[in-house]
Every structure is written in structure tokens, then in C-alpha cells.
């Protein structure tokens, strides 16, 4: 028996989905009165672990102990009865019901067989008072801010069972003040002896509130650490999976010669921002430059691209292209100004799955020239054949439906779509994600050769070595703020990680 007492203990947890080992022999321990952060990049296994703990998915192997007793939660409801409650990122309450109804839905206090409204409202008021929340419980939930809604969800969870509380990215839609309020509540609950599992992408918040950190990577446990003993850089390194010492920059071979500082500015962005997704930022991109956007997932990399490209209409700031101030209201405007954006969500924002490879390739060019100027079928065939050959796209032919292609080849088709518009600035968001190594290198080479021809490229990647290899300069983002620019000799992984971590 350990000298420490564990409220929740998971041992040797294994969980596989078809083709993926989501969790491999993972351990997890939670003490009472502890706020325990679960960290890891996307696909690390955080959500799978939570799903297993709360009975959403059955586990393949391993044991879960709650209060020293072995448990096997069969459903979220069952887990709740056992004492494990979860509050999700998206508040899943009924916005149009009253606060009290939301707290007691499904277990309303009854009196002579009908709902005892008075009792329900009284108990709700009491419950919220315990959390120092004095709101009118008879009002519909939607009257209150997301933060309050979040807290109502917590109140509900606590009233049902109060041993372990899981908060799955509760702060992603809250502003700074609301986050502070939530943290106050978490500290209060902690004092009451509750064990809290906290999942978040925001590094600052981890250090603000947590006692312990458990890091997962690719379904494996990296380790559990006391928060005070784990510097930020170490945390990031462990999440991304790069040891600092002995790290070899084997990738320099591909890198371009240091770009001449020919400040031939192409794009100039000043104070561009979009409320709720990215704080106002400045950005300059020269002709023939590959600018890397780095930062953790959710740090605002994609949001920068979306705002420049007019997908999210900027609510502040301005963009100038080649010295001319331009208005970009939507992607169509951006394309007219020579911009192109290859989204990270290939399936939902890239391919048109039931159209052929040919149609997918010419789509953006056709949209650029307008529907009246139909590109003749013969020309379309020539173009698509040319790009299929050029980018080595593996397809039965231009008339093959794009949905029948592999991920890497679909990515190349989208790339072809944008190259065809002859963009002056190409924004690539995770262009190499989920594709095999061979295709990855091909795409990286292509990016570099495009830059040599004078095209500007914004390159977003979660893989730091890839960013270092391809970029001539980098902008670093953290918590939706652009915090630094890195160029020249500073562009090596250790320094970048330190910048991302903010030390």
C-alpha cells in the first residue's frame, strides 16, 4: 500500500480503435483536493482516457479504482452515480430551460407525484450559493454568460456526485475574467477535498491552477509531474516529444540559403484581429519568403490564416498588399488579390468529395474568373493531366471522384487547385498532416521551390522540425496572441519551444 491515498487510480489502461492504439498501458492517479491537468497534443489520448473513465467507451484492459474499490463504469450515467462527473467544453444543458430546471432535470424533487417547484428552486439557490453564485435560478439559462452556464453545469455535476470532477476544456470559450472566476471556483472545490481533472490547451492556465500534470503522447504515458517542478519548456518538449539534449538538427540539409534581406514586402498586416478568435496582430511577409506560424494547437495559428483570408471577417486592423490597402470581406476577395489558403481540414474545408479530380482542381480558378468564362473542357483536361503528373497524384484519371483518393493525394489535388490560381501568397495549414512520409517530403520540397520562384508562403505546422526546415522566418503564437518573431540563428527547436512556452 502506498503511503499516499488515491481518490481515483487507473492502472494499465489499454484501448484500441480499429487501426489505432488510442491508449497503451496508461496509468493515472488523482488525490483528493488536487487539480490535475491532463496534457497532450491532439490525438495523444486525452479524450479517450476521459471517455474510458466516464464509461463512454469500454476499456480493453486495465483497472480503475475509486476510493480503493475497483469500478467499471458502463455509461456516463453510471459513472456519475459512482461519483465521477464530467463537464464538457460545449455546455450541454438546455439553454431555454430555467437554471433550476437544468440543475435538476431528470431527477426533479417530487411532491404528490408532481414537480415541487419551490423545493427545486430553493435547493438550486442553495447549491449555487455554495459556489458563491447569486443568480436568479428561475431565469432561463441562456440569459447568462457562457461562464455562468459552465458553472451551472458544474453545480449540477457536483450535486449528483461529488468525488471526482472532470473539466474537459471548459475555458476555451471564456474570456480572461470568466476564466479567473472559474479558477476561483475550482480552488474552492479543491479545498473541499474534491479531485479535479482539468483538460486544457492553454499553458498559462495549467500553471495558474494545477497541482499536478500528467502528459500523454500517442496514447502512451509520458509521465506525471508536480506542476512546480516542471518548467514550461520541459512540458512542451514532453508533449511534442522532443528531448532537448542530444537533439539533432538533421533537417538542415533541405533548408534554403539564408534569404537575402531584400525587403520586398508583399503583405503588410497591421492590427488585424477577430474578436473571440485572434487578438490584433501585425505581420509582414516578403516576396519569396516562407513564414512559419508556430504555436501549440489552439494558439491561434489557423485563426491568423482565416482572418487574413477573409473567412473570419476581421473586426479591426488593415491589410495592404504590395503597398495598396485592400478590403478582404470573404475568400473570393482574397483570391482576387492573389491569396490562396489550403485548410487544415481537408475533408470538411478542402475537397468536394463527389466531384472529380478535374473539377476539384479547376474549381478555384473557375471561381476566380467567374462562372461566365467557362474553362473549355479540353483545357480542363490538359490542366488536370498536367498537375496530376507534376505533383505525382495517384489517381485512375482526371474523372476519378476525389473521395476515392488517399489522403495524401487529395492534399495534392487541393494544392494543385491553389497553384492553378497562380497565387502570390500561399497559406498552407498543416499541409502534411496525416499523409505518409514520402508525400510529406515531396510537399516540403514543393514549398521551397515555389518560394524560389518568388511566391510568398505562410506555413503552419504542428511539427516543429518541419517548420524549422521549411521556414525562413517564424511568428510564434500563444493563447491567441502573436508573441514573437524568430529569424536567423534563433530558429532552432530549443529556442522556439522556449518562446512558445514563454520563459
Amino acid at each position: 500500500m502506498d503511503d499516499a491515498y488515491f481518490l481515483l487510480k487507473a492502472k494499465g489502461i489499454c484501448k484500441a480503435f480499429p487501426g489505432v492504439k488510442a491508449l497503451n498501458n496508461v496509468e493515472f492517479e488523482l488525490k483528493p483536493g488536487e487539480i490535475h491537468c491532463l496534457m497532450g497534443e491532439n490525438g495523444a489520448g486525452k479524450s479517450t482516457l476521459i471517455k474510458v473513465l466516464t464509461g463512454v467507451d469500454p476499456l480493453d484492459a486495465g483497472d480503475i479504482f475509486l476510493d480503493g474499490k475497483a469500478i467499471a463504469p458502463k455509461s456516463p450515467h453510471h459513472a456519475q452515480q459512482l461519483g465521477i462527473s464530467t463537464v464538457y467544453q460545449e455546455v450541454n444543458l438546455c439553454a431555454n430551460l430555467s437554471v433550476a430546471e437544468n440543475i435538476f432535470i431528470g431527477r426533479e424533487p417530487l411532491r404528490f407525484g408532481s414537480i415541487d417547484w419551490k423545493e427545486m428552486n430553493r435547493r438550486s439557490q442553495e447549491l449555487l450559493a455554495k459556489l458563491s453564485l447569486g443568480i436568479d435560478v428561475t431565469q432561463p439559462l441562456e440569459r447568462y454568460s457562457v461562464a455562468i452556464q459552465q458553472m451551472v453545469a458544474i453545480a449540477r455535476a457536483l450535486d449528483i456526485s461529488a468525488k471526482v470532477l472532470i473539466l474537459d476544456e471548459p475555458t476555451s470559450s471564456l474570456d480572461a475574467q470568466e476564466v479567473e472566476k472559474l479558477f476561483g471556483l475550482m480552488r474552492k472545490l479543491k479545498k473541499q477535498g474534491l479531485g479535479i481533472i482539468f483538460v486544457t490547451h492553454f499553458i498559462e492556465q495549467v500553471y495558474a491552477v494545477s497541482d499536478k500534470i500528467t502528459i500523454l503522447r500517442n496514447g502512451e504515458l509520458v509521465g506525471s509531474y508536480e506542476t512546480v517542478n516542471l518548467p514550461r519548456v520541459q512540458l512542451i518538449a514532453k508533449m511534442i516529444g522532443k528531448a532537448f539534449d542530444g537533439f539533432e538538427s538533421s533537417c538542415k540539409t533541405l533548408k534554403l540559403d539564408i534569404l537575402q534581406e531584400s525587403r520586398n514586402n508583399f503583405l503588410r498586416v497591421r492590427g488585424l484581429g477577430h474578436k473571440g478568435s485572434i487578438h490584433p496582430f501585425d505581420l509582414d511577409i516578403s516576396k519569396g519568403e516562407v513564414l512559419g506560424l508556430v504555436g501549440l494547437l489552439g494558439s491561434g495559428r489557423t485563426e491568423v490564416a482565416r482572418t487574413i483570408f477573409g473567412i473570419d471577417k476581421a473586426d479591426s486592423g488593415e491589410i495592404a498588399i504590395e503597398g495598396q490597402t485592400v478590403t478582404i470581406q470573404n475568400p473570393a476577395d482574397a483570391i482576387q488579390h492573389g491569396l490562396a489558403y489550403c485548410s487544415e481540414n481537408r475533408k470538411t474545408e478542402g475537397i468536394i468529395e463527389n466531384l472529380s479530380v478535374r473539377e476539384n482542381i479547376i474549381l478555384a480558378l473557375q471561381a476566380k474568373v467567374g462562372w461566365m468564362k467557362y474553362i473549355p473542357k479540353k483545357r480542363q483536361d490538359e490542366i488536370s493531366k498536367k498537375y496530376i503528373e507534376l505533383l505525382n497524384i495517384k489517381t485512375a484519371g482526371p474523372e476519378q471522384l476525389i473521395k476515392n483518393l488517399s489522403g495524401g493525394n487529395q492534399q495534392k489535388v487541393i494544392l494543385a487547385r491553389w497553384l492553378l490560381t497562380e497565387p502570390k501568397l500561399l497559406i498552407l495549414d498543416e499541409p502534411t498532416r496525416g499523409i505518409d512520409v514520402g508525400a510529406k517530403v515531396e510537399i516540403q520540397k514543393l514549398i521551397l521551390s515555389l518560394a524560389e520562384t518568388g511566391m510568398s508562403v505562410v506555413f503552419i505546422s504542428s511539427e516543429l522540425d518541419e517548420s524549422v526546415r521549411c521556414s525562413s522566418r517564424m511568428a510564434v503564437l500563444r493563447d491567441r496572441v502573436k508573441i514573437a518573431e524568430i529569424s536567423g540563428d534563433e530558429m532552432e527547436e530549443k529556442y522556439i519551444m522556449q518562446t512558445i512556452a514563454g520563459v
Binding site: 470538411t348 478542402g350 463527389n354 474549381l363
Partner: protein, 360 residues
Amino acid sequence: MMEKIQSIWNRFTSSRLCWPLAALFFVLLFNFFFTKDFFTIEMKDGHFYGVTIDVLNRAAPLMLLAIGMTLVIATKGIDISVGSMIAISGAVAASLIGGKLEYVDGVKTLVTLVPMPVAIFTALLVTTLLGMWNGLLISKVGIQPIVATLILLVAGRGIAQLITQGQIITVYYKPFQFIGTGYIFGLPFSLFIVGLVFGITFYAVRKTALGMFIESIGINAVASRFAGINVSKYIFSAYAFSGLCAGLAGLIICSNVSSADGNNAGLFIELDAILAVSLGGNSLDGGRFSLVGSLIGALVIQSITTTIYALGVPPEITLVVKSVVVIVICLLQSANFRKIVFSKWAQKRGIPGEKNAAKL
């Protein structure tokens, strides 16, 4: 030679139009055996006359609606207000033309309140504007298509009655009756309207990039927007066009019966229009579409209706018969259903099921 036939046959069976054509073929085949004089065409008073001509003539409004509806459905939308727009179009035209009997210079003559072209133009303008209203609600305000067009479905008949002041307006003006009952080169004039609208639409969607954009939007609106397509503009236009088609259909129907009935003109025809698109092999989920398929679908529906009347099916069960036929056709068109049925059938006969089902 055999190989060539085989390859043509394979191309036909794998084409999207195979099943709609087969459905039409079977309905016509049935008529060939069971309906007297179905295919007889005579020349009377200088124009063709017969059941098939009648089917084509009666199908004209439905075909027009189906053309508009096809584009709307291809954008992953739906327009259930076309029936009401038919009523409005008829009401506007009829009340503008009016057509009182008056004595001009002692001769009994029909006069119109406003010149007929103005009346027609106004009716089409009104329904196009109503279509734009639908388009606005859907593409700009973001209301779901079925809800947005439901508004006009319900309110439209009220508007129509407001225009006719609750009366059924009868139009005596002869030139107006030509639209629905006139003949050119021995064929119903309404068919020329359909032909013209179809021709223009077909050209627009297949000889310009319009068709590809519409399909792209129907398959993935987000990705289409990211590729630089002005998604809301095209969705808006599709509904406006559907309104125009409904306006034309309304003129034909109104002219055909020489009256505008706000309550009953085009009642439930929106459902037939959607069915026509569906029978034409188009997915209600949007994306790829075939205008020809929708026309065939409209013809199938009208053929069934005419057949039922021709056979003298008691009026109280005509709808049941029609629905049974439609269900059978729909099931036959469903690839899943065919797979289940034919693979069982093939198993019984000891033929490898998968391969056969795939061929079918």
C-alpha cells in the same frame, strides 16, 4: 459486334438516367397493353391530338417546376412554396388582364385592363421577387430551406386570395388562353415554353461553370466558399429562378382553365415537383444533378396520373394507386433495395450474389 452492344449496354446501365428511363418505359409499356388508344396520335384541326400529347401538355407546369426545383435541390435546399407561387402568379395575371365584355363602337369586344405582356411580365416579376425573398431568408439570414419556404407555402395562398379578393377570377381574354391551350406547329404551346426554359437552363448549367458551382455548393458549401465561390449568391439565385419557373407554371395553369383560383391552383404540386426531381435520379441531399432526369420524372408522374384516369380507377382510390406505383418505382431506384432483393434472388438460383447485384 456483341462486345460493342455489351459496352453500350453497360454504359447505359451505369448511367444516372438508366432507372428514370426504365420507370418511364414500364409505365408506357403498361399503357401499351392496357390503355386503349394511348399511343394513337391523330391530326385534328391542324394539330396533333392524342393521349401522349395530352400527357405532355399537362406535364408542362410540372416540368417547369421540376427544372427550378432541380437547381434548388442541387444546392442542398428545397422549395415547398412553388404551389403557392403558382396561385399568386395566376392571381396577378388574371386580375391585371381581367377581361370584361365591352361594346366598342357597337361591337362586342374583349378588352384588357392592362396590355397582356405587362400582365405576364408583372406576374413573373412578382414570383421571381418572392423567390428572391426565399433566397434571402436562406442564403443571408440562414433559415433552413424547408422552414423559409414554408412561410410562403402558408402565406402565399392568402396573398393570392388577397389579390383576387377572395373570388375566382375568370379570364375571357382569348390571347391569354393561348398560353395554356394554344398550338404551334401542331404541338401545344406550353411545350415550347418548357423547351425554351429547359434549353436556356441546360445551356447555363452545362456550358458555363454554373452547374459545377451549384453541385460543389450542394456537396460541400464550406469548402466551396473557401475555394472562392460566392455561395450565398448562387443559393439566392437558385431560389429566385425557382420562383420564375413557378410563375411560368402558374401562367400556364391559369390560362389552361381560364381562371385564377387562389385556393386550388397548384395545390400540392410542390410535392409532385420534388418527387419528379427524385424520380429523375437526383439525390435530395444535393450535389450532382440531372435536368433531363427531372423532366423524365415529371413525365412519369403525369403518365401515371393520366393512366389512372384513363383506366377509370374510382376517384376515391386514385391517390392510393398512384402512391403504390410511386413506392415501387422509388424502391427499384434504390441501390440498397436492389442489392437486398436481387442478391437473395441470385442466391436462390445459385449465382454469386454480389457480382450480380453490382451489375444490376
